[in-house]
Amino acid sequence: MIEHIEKQWLSAYLDKQLSAVQQQRVQEHLASCATCRAYLLDLQHLQENMQRLKAADSAIDIRAQTLALLPDLPLPERHRRWSFLEYSAAVASVVCGVLIGGWMMPTEQNMPLDLAVVQVLGAEPPGFLCSTSAYCYLESKK
């Protein structure tokens, strides 16, 4: 009694998905087994008919109607990178803020500009809330 090749093997053989060794084994079996040869032939006919089915597919055209719906939809979100100009504007804004803040700070006479800038970033309230930085603490203790 002949032991047949598994259908799965024949199906994979048809698709050329077997290893060289497996392929060799199937070919040897097919040479001596009419039943498996007939099954493989059926598989081939089936595949050919499926291809004919595909070839007979009718054309459709939904491009215009689909595109007509798209303008109402939001564009895909994108994370756009900042341009050089935008980066420059952001840096300039920060620098201007620090300089203006430093100018508004009450400074002791002859205080260098650098120290005034540092004061803007300090913990003391900005502007003229206290006449000098030391008075802020004295006034809060009263």
Binding site: L46, Q47, I62, L73
Partner: protein, 185 residues
């Protein structure tokens, strides 16, 4: 139709070029439509799904990666949409094959052969509809759309070994539907 690659058209679409997206629709609409029609069993429903697929694809274009074939990505969206509809309807109606049959008649060599060929293909399509969704989709992807085992595995989220066994069972089931099938397990 434009000679531009899918990647190029997708990049243009991402920059807001809808004409480029129109090219992608023109390129894949027939494939998506017939895949959906066969999976769904309804020509009318398939046209709606095809339109939805492209709208969903447009909205999700940022999630597409060049590693995946654009066609496979679209069919994956179509498959999910069809399965949602099938789950909701729980029915598998047959579609008219008149248009396909007419086309075959127009291209075949003799009247007798036309009739035989048309009847054979009509039986085949009906047999395909009678299969389970699992078998139907894998047969469509492999034997109609021509995807590789690896592409099918990725599209269906299964391993290549399962593709092989499921495809074999699907083919056996289809042959059995057509002519009683040959069994030699």
């Amino acid at each position: 139709m434009s000679q531009a690659t899918d990647d190029h058209l997708i990049a243009q679409t991402r920059q807001g070029d809808r004409v480029a997206f129109g090219e992608l629709i023109a390129r894949y609409q027939v494939q998506v439509y017939h895949f959906s029609r066969r999976l769904l069993g309804s020509a009318e429903g398939a046209q709606d799904i095809t339109q939805d697929v492209f709208i969903k694809a447009f909205l999700a274009l940022d999630t597409w990666r060049p590693e995946a074939a654009f066609a496979a990505w679209l069919l994956r969206i179509a498959r999910n949409a069809c399965l949602d509809v099938l789950r909701a309807q729980q029915r598998y109606p047959l579609v008219s094959l008149e248009s396909q049959v007419e086309q075959l008649i127009a291209h075949s060599p003799s009247a007798e052969q036309h009739a035989i060929q048309a009847q054979r293909l009509e039986q085949l399509e009906e047999a395909l509809f009678s299969l389970s969704v699992e078998h139907r989709e894998i047969l469509i992807l492999r034997d109609l759309e021509g995807f590789s085992y690896q592409e099918i595995a990725e599209l269906l989220d299964i391993n290549a070994g399962t593709v092989r066994s499921r495809l074999s069972r699907g083919r056996a089931a289809l042959m059995q539907q057509i002519n009683g099938g040959a069994t030699n397990d």
